[in-house]
């Protein structure tokens, strides 16, 4: 069954995802969990590429690893200064109910997936990019959501900078 190289790459990225997600679950240091989130998102980008969505893989790396992780690190560092701790250790509470709920959700999803009878195999086109297709779709049938996403990001940017900006202004005054 295993005779194509992309299967090996799939298991490589899947083991990255599983390992770093479990580390993100068990670690108590928030900085460590930010870096575990980084490698999890890197593995998800690899899965996107293997599902022949190469533009989304690059977008995942640029946006999540370049932008969102930096935002998380900034938030951790700001919180660090205000609470006066050297590093942030989070607590684990509700352990039993959380783990039971997670396992039950996983079992429900897994039985639903395995009983659905998806026999299809993902097709991988190494020589066919999706960038031009996504560009054409964005400019024809998705032009209204595209413009709305632009306005939405603008509103979120202004809101976030105003909400967080008061904090920095107060810190400068002190």
């Amino acid at each position: 069954m295993i005779n194509n190289p992309e299967v090996y790459f799939f298991y490589f990225f899947a083991s990255i995802i599983v390992g770093s997600a479990l580390f993100l679950l068990i670690t108590k240091n928030v900085v460590y969990s930010a870096f575990a989130l980084l490698s999890t998102l890197l593995g998800v980008a690899g899965l996107f590429v293997l599902a022949s969505a190469d533009f989304l893989g690059i977008m995942q790396i640029v946006i999540y690893i370049g932008g969102v992780l930096l935002l998380f690190m900034f938030a951790i560092m700001f919180a660090n200064k205000l609470t006066g701790q050297h590093y942030i250790i989070t607590e684990h509470k509700n352990l039993l109910s959380g783990i039971i709920l997670g396992i039950v959700v996983f079992i429900i999803f897994a039985t639903a997936i395995l009983n659905a009878g998806y026999k299809e195999q993902l097709s991988y086109y190494p020589d066919k990019g999706t960038v031009s297709g996504i560009g054409v779709e964005l400019m024809t049938s998705y032009v209204l959501p595209f413009e709305f996403a632009g306005v939405f990001l603008f509103v979120a940017l202004i809101g976030a900078s105003i909400v967080a900006g008061y904090l920095i202004k107060d810190k400068i005054k002190k």
Binding site: F10, A14, I17, V18, A21, L24, V30, A34, L37, V44, L47, A51, A53, F55, L56, Q60, G67, V68, L71, F72, A75, I76, F78, A79, L82, T83, I88, T90, E91, H92, K93, G98, I99, L101, G102, V105, F106, F109, A110, I113, Y118, E120, Q121, L122, Y124, I134, E137, L138, Y142, A149, F152, L153, A156, G159, A160, S161, V163, A164, L167, D170
Partner: protein, 100 residues
Amino acid sequence: MIPSTHFLIIAAFLFSIGIIILIIKRNAIAALMGIELMLNAVNINLVVFSNLNRQMDGQMFVIFVIVVAVAEAAVGLALLLQVYKSYKTSDLDKISKLKG
């Protein structure tokens, strides 16, 4: 050729890990990380079914999901900084002023 079930199982695993993180971690930043994991699991599913359907619709939806996730993370972390400023803590159980 990778079986699509393996992708879906990985996505389900990621989603349940996100739920566990959201419930057991008491730091607000860590809880936001759990939400990001759940959004990524949904994105994997959308990409897989877009590939099976030979259409672009799933990938377009993933783009908009990523946009919303980024906006949510930015606004959530900005609100979190204000919460830190007033409560001097990040513990979700200690932010309980609205509790009756």
